[in-house]
């Protein structure tokens, strides 16, 4: 039996169904990411688990206890919000101590635990600071300390890093992951950033329109998308229609499917390569965009379809706009995906 179980959970706001019969379990100690675009229902599910929203139908079980109708203040769940939500009239120390005071912990223990939590999020020296004098990153770390100090049964993180700049966000991602491993705390992380989900998670639950589109480890979700949506949301997959793929490669593909192929699996060369187990197509480079250590080419194929090709950024090996190139599409990486979710298989 899973530590947390969502059993056929439905949430409606008026006529709008935000969660549509959600059922899955989370194992104790896992860091699970609820990933999906804005409005897909991931934050609503988190708020239903926290008790800040009620469910319309279904059941939520936490550690064998039905918490569906238990008030938020009685669930022993920690939560970090996107907007920090520190108490402005309290110092960092007082903010972190607040939950322990609510639990009527003795003052000596409060002092010790608060100091430990503040040290854990690397805010030592800022104990007496008010939230208004802290940066966004510092505020979010104080909020994290406030949530973990009470040793909750589950830690919920609702897009906690979305208002923080890219460099600090990466540092905080690592810190959250480290804290999760140190404490062994079951953690649910909500994000719309697939890169963040890849870095943070043990398990990803990919949401789409109030339903779970796909669940699995980051590698599984990245390498084996089960639907057109999963392929487009994860990994910037190129998607070729069945007819285009057949026209380019001569390989028949059943209608109602698309071929998805990741940009980094496609080979690109000036000379026609002699590769086995790959479909060869020719095209013209129409654009190139540096993306950190990766250079992304946009290549127009016969028939007008364009695909992205990612290669490591090597200044001595570059193609210019207008260059004729050959692309090799490895057979094992050409995934046949139904337009509507189902299982995927490779196109031989």
């Amino acid at each position: 039996m899973a530590y947390i179980e969502f059993r056929d959970v439905v949430k409606r706001f008026g006529d709008n169904t935000v969660l549509d019969h959600i059922s899955f379990g989370i194992q104790q100690g896992d860091l699970v990411t609820l990933l999906g675009p804005s409005g897909c229902g991931k934050s609503t599910l988190l708020r239903c688990l926290s008790g800040l929203e009620t469910v319309t139908e279904g059941q939520i079980v936490l550690d064998g206890r039905d918490v569906t109708n238990v008030p938020a203040s009685k669930r022993n769940i920690g939560m970090v919000f996107q907007q920090y939500s520190l108490f402005p009239n309290m110092t960092v120390e007082q903010n972190v101590a607040f939950g322990l005071k609510m639990k009527k912990v003795d003052p000596a223990t409060i002092e010790r635990k608060v100091a430990e939590a503040i040290a854990m999020v690397e805010l030592s020296g800022k104990e007496k600071a008010y939230p208004s004098s802290l940066s966004g990153g510092q505020q979010q770390r104080a909020a994290l300390a406030r949530s973990i100090v009470t040793e909750p049964a589950v830690l919920l993180l609702d897009e906690p890093l979305s208002a923080i700049d890219a460099k600090l966000r990466k540092a905080l991602q690592s810190r959250i992951r480290e804290i999760h491993q140190e404490l062994g705390l079951t953690t649910i992380f909500v994000t719309h950033d697939q890169d963040e989900a890849m870095v943070m998670s043990d398990v990803i639950q990919l949401f789409h329109s109030g339903r779970i589109e796909q669940a699995g480890s980051p590698v599984e979700v990245y390498t084996s998308p089960v639907s057109e949506f999963a392929a487009s949301f994860i990994g910037s997959y190129n998607q070729l229609s069945a007819s285009d793929f057949t026209a380019l490669t001569g390989v028949p593909v059943p209608q109602g499917n698309v071929i998805a192929i990741r940009p980094e699996t496609i080979g690109i060369s000036r000379e026609r390569p002699d590769e086995k187990d790959a479909h060869l197509v020719d095209g013209t480079v129409v654009d190139s965009t540096p993306r950190g250590n990766v250079l992304r080419y946009t290549v127009r194929l016969e028939g007008g379809t364009t695909v992205f090709v990612d290669v490591l950024f090597r200044s001595f090996h570059m193609f210019d706009r207008g260059n004729k190139v050959y692309l090799s599409l490895p057979e094992r990486d050409c995934l046949v995906i139904p337009v509507n979710a189902a299982s995927a298989r490779t196109a031989a």
Binding site: S73, M79, Q83, S85, N89, G99, K103, L168
Partner: protein, 274 residues
């Protein structure tokens, strides 16, 4: 891994106010003070029929300060102000708890209800209250309690705006939810977390309410008249007697309001420092 970051909002370099701005502020301040200064001067001289007044005297103030009716009027006005503003604040804080923590959709209804007194003429309000409660034999038929009720209604929109803006500024609902997740009940979170953060807003709006109660004549005269004479009714009763004395009363009203304002601002400053 180090997560050291710079704090935002570090103190900005101290800039001096430009001379032009100082002159502009000085001119505006002088313009606003002219009516008060001329009233003050008028109250300190026997006559002012030429360019300059003549016959300096403190007779008006001596007469005023030895008149017990005057002190009672000031005292009644302060009590009216304090009680009605306090009642409004308590009622609104309770109502806004429901709006913030229980049903946010009631916010529009609250706004509508609280804006009604803006459109209510003093004469209509006072006559309405008198016709409703006079002779009912209840505590509400007492003229003093009628006045408390009338002022509670009168200051409602001003205090509502202040409290609502203060609640919006701190995202009160989010703070309550954050406190809830730490094991705190909603109402306790409202009292312990939200209220300390809106004290400043409440004090500022109560200042506005105070000046409105101090400046009211219509409600006080219609509802209580000389039964529970406030300072404006006292002023009206003495206007025919002596213009110098009337000016002295206006000066004292101004100074009392200024003193109350200074006290409230001091409290606000203290709460912000905390």
């Amino acid at each position: 891994m180090s997560l050291k970051t710079k704090a935002v909002g570090a103190s900005a370099p101290d800039k001096k106010t430009p001379l032009a701005a100082k002159i502009f502020l000085g001119v505006v301040a002088l313009y606003l003070l002219v009516p008060f200064l001329t009233t003050l001067v008028y109250s300190l001289f026997v006559e002012w029929t030429d360019v300059l007044p003549s016959g300096f005297t403190l007779r008006n103030y001596a007469e005023l300060f030895t008149n017990s009716t005057f002190w009672f009027s000031i005292g009644r006005t302060l009590v009216l102000c304090l009680v009605s503003v306090a009642i409004t604040i308590v009622l609104l804080l309770l109502a806004m708890y429901v709006v913030v923590a229980v049903n946010r959709r009631l916010g529009r209804f609250m706004q509508f209800v609280c804006m009604i007194p803006y459109a209510l003429q003093g004469v209509i309000l006072s006559i309405g209250i008198i016709s409703l409660y006079t002779g009912t034999g209840t505590i509400l038929s007492n003229r003093m309690f009628m006045l408390f009720g009338a002022y509670t209604i009168l200051v409602l929109p001003y205090i509502y705006q202040g409290i609502r803006n203060a609640l919006n500024a701190i995202d009160a609902n989010m703070l309550i939810q954050a406190a809830e997740m730490l094991g705190c009940g909603r109402f306790r979170a409202y009292v312990q977390v939200v209220l300390p953060n809106i004290v400043s807003g409440i004090l500022v709006s109560s200042l506005l309410a105070e000046s409105i109660v101090f400046g009211d004549f219509v409600l006080a005269n219609n509802i209580a008249g000389t039964n529970y004479q406030n300072i404006q009714v006292f002023l009206q009763a003495n206007m025919a007697r002596s213009s110098g004395l009337s000016s002295a009363i206006v000066v004292v009203i101004f100074l009392v309001v200024a003193a109350v304002t200074a006290l409230v601002l001091k409290l606000q400053h203290t709460s912000q420092n905390k």
